[in-house]
């Protein structure tokens, strides 16, 4: 697909060399190709439309620069718009409380438990913190065991109550535990849940209300398709989360869901998770994500060819 996008862009722009301005006529097809490429990258189709309309607006009437060819110029416009969209507000990560309370939420299997371990490892090794992991998933078979194995791997304590079937009181008790054990960050791993599951959404909202977290992170599988917007909006409505975590970026997904989510809830993407090992966590780089969604490898080579 992306080979053909760059080919299409290339041929589309051959025709406008020598014309003074980018016109409606000479970018109509290009805009359509970019839109389709975005949808193929799993950007929500409505957002892809709005985004390409904006690109078109910016491009229209732009002077065709003499120093670069129109292809390069169009690439730059798209890249700039996308990067601006992906980045936006500078994202701080608030671990100043004592203990700082971090709540992790998201759909089933998105990577919450793995991320909780990675975050604890990151805060411990890179930020000199003393974290406590909290097993507040009382549903998934062996969820506590999973977190304990990860905690063991990174040398971080895990708080759990195997007989307690109330996520809210587990989270509250964990705060007391953190205070008594001198832990300055607690990371609460919760069960996966669907946004349409009223009972489960209420549970996580209750956990939030009870512990008043400094950060609430919404964990999303980067392979998610068109539904990402609905899920993100629903979780945001209930939790007003403070940031997004993208997981499984070690795959070959284009990750258009990232753009959809950013566009829909306008919350910063704070971390990128890319592996099953505990050290595969990175802070978020908007340019990298923008390039990935657009298949910039090809576009860069297009510019180089030009």
């Amino acid at each position: 697909m992306f080979n053909s996008l760059s080919e299409k862009l290339e041929s589309a722009f051959k025709n406008i060399k020598g014309e003074g301005r980018i016109s409606e006529l000479n970018i109509a097809n290009t805009v359509k190709d970019i839109r389709r490429a975005l949808v193929d990258a799993d950007v929500n189709y409505k957002i892809a439309k709005e985004f390409t309309d904006k690109v078109k607006e910016t491009a229209l009437g732009s002077k065709v620069l003499l120093s670069v060819n129109p292809g390069q110029q169009m690439v730059k416009i798209v890249q700039d718009e996308l990067t601006a969209l992906m980045g936006g507000t500078e994202s701080e990560f608030n671990v100043t409380g004592n203990p700082a309370i971090i709540l992790i939420a998201g759909l089933q299997g998105s990577g919450k438990t793995t991320f909780s371990g990675k975050l604890a490892n990151y805060l411990k090794t890179k930020k000199g913190k003393s974290p406590l992991l909290v097993a507040a998933d009382i549903y998934r078979p062996a969820a506590i065991d999973q977190l304990e194995v990860l905690g063991g791997q990174i040398g971080v304590d895990v708080y759990s109550e195997r007989e307690n079937k109330d996520a809210v009181s587990i989270a509250q008790n964990a705060i007391k535990e953190a205070r008594s054990k001198n832990k300055n960050v607690i990371i609460i791993d919760t069960a996966g849940r669907l946004a349409v599951d009223e009972v489960m959404m209420t549970e996580v909202a209750n956990v939030k209300a009870a512990v008043n977290p400094h950060e609430i992170l919404f964990v999303v599988d980067s392979m998610t398709g068109q539904d990402a917007v609905n899920t993100a909006a629903a979780f945001n409505e209930r939790l007003d989360f403070s940031g997004v975590v993208l997981t499984k970026l070690d795959g070959d997904t284009r990750g258009g869901a990232a753009l959809s989510i950013k566009y829909t809830v306008n919350k910063p993407i704070k971390f990128m998770s890319s592996g099953e090992k505990m050290d595969t966590l990175d802070v978020f780089y908007p340019e990298r994500m923008a390039q990935r969604i657009l298949g910039m490898g090809d576009i860069v080579s297009l510019v180089e060819k030009a």
Binding site: R36, N44, E148, L194, V196, M223, T224, Q226, D227, D252
Partner: protein, 299 residues
């Protein structure tokens, strides 16, 4: 149910207030299909076929559109041969035990699907054996062990970190010895672009064949219903490594539309056999193409 109503709602909106199929209707239809994760390529194919019909039949009304759409999508879905369906959890004839190897990327629902299958095969009076060949993920063995306890089905397992191929081997040997009807082998989640992990899967398959040359009789690729176009890559690479014979689509109890079913069936000719609609043992449905398509378009 939610999946179907959502999809149908969009289609209804797409044609509301229109009596004939025109460009607007087709545009809206395109949006509905794309937003269900059907993907551009398959959507374009469906729309083009409908355009042809519109051109040919001159006057096509929107009431007829449903019927045509249904036919178009049904034509794309692959029908496995009648013998190889699991209707009422009957097993295909001609061999015993029936070995199902379950594969897929991380977190899609492989282990849970195995738990559900164990439950349903047991209910249907089959003797089941589980193999915990995910020796990698933290507490994966414990997770499958809980499913084995829940369903009262035996499990072959070793400690985390042991060789997955030898666990698979032991499971099949044990299944033959116990005269099990169906053997379900869980594997670790792996991303399809990781060559060494895909090789490991091929190795697991080969080792199983040392015990039963025709096994695994089914290689079940589990796909998360909320996954977008990447599911096509998953189907492609898992098929290359293990010759996938069947799909299970999970998490269709959410708002994701699972249109991925249509695109994959179209491009890879792999039949969907089960769908997951929840986290409980009973939340698995045998996929019924006709019902699925009917479900898309019935109120």
């Amino acid at each position: 149910q939610k999946t179907r109503e959502g999809f149908f709602g969009k289609i209804t909106k797409a044609i509301a207030g229109k009596s004939t199929v025109d460009v607007d209707v087709l545009d809206n239809l395109e949006d509905a299909l794309v937003s269900a994760d059907v993907g551009i390529e398959t959507t374009v194919k469906i729309i083009e076929n409908i355009e042809l019909r519109v051109a040919k039949d001159k006057y096509l009304n929107t009431a007829e559109l449903n019927g045509i759409l249904k036919a178009e999508i049904e034509a794309l879905l692959v029908k496995g041969d009648a013998d190889a369906t699991y209707e009422n959890y009957e097993l295909p004839k001609g061999h015993h035990p029936h070995v199902i190897l379950v594969v897929g990327v991380n977190g899609v629902g492989k282990t849970t699907t195995i738990g559900k299958l164990a439950h349903n095969f047991s209910l249907a009076g089959k003797s089941v054996l589980l193999g915990a060949a995910d020796t990698f993920r933290a507490a994966a063995v414990e997770q499958l062990t809980i499913w084995s306890e829940r369903t009262g089905v035996p499990i072959v397992k070793r400690e985390q970190g042991s060789d997955p191929a030898s666990v698979a081997y032991d499971t099949v040997v044990s299944g033959v010895a116990r005269n099990a009807d169906v053997i379900l082998i869980d594997t670790a989640g792996r991303l399809h672009n990781k060559a060494h992990l895909m090789d490991e899967l091929s190795k697991i398959k080969k080792v199983i064949q040392k015990v039963i040359p025709a096994a695994p009789h089914e290689v079940m690729l589990v796909l998360d219903g909320s996954t977008g176009q990447n599911a096509l890559e998953q189907a492609k690479h898992f098929t290359a490594a293990t010759e996938v014979t069947a799909l299970t689509i999970t998490k269709l109890d959410g708002t994701a539309k699972g249109g991925v079913v249509i695109a994959i069936a179209d491009q890879f000719k792999i039949p969907v056999k089960f769908i997951g609609v929840g986290e409980k043992a009973q939340d698995l449905l045998v996929f019924d193409g006709k019902q699925f398509v009917n479900g898309l378009f019935s109120l």
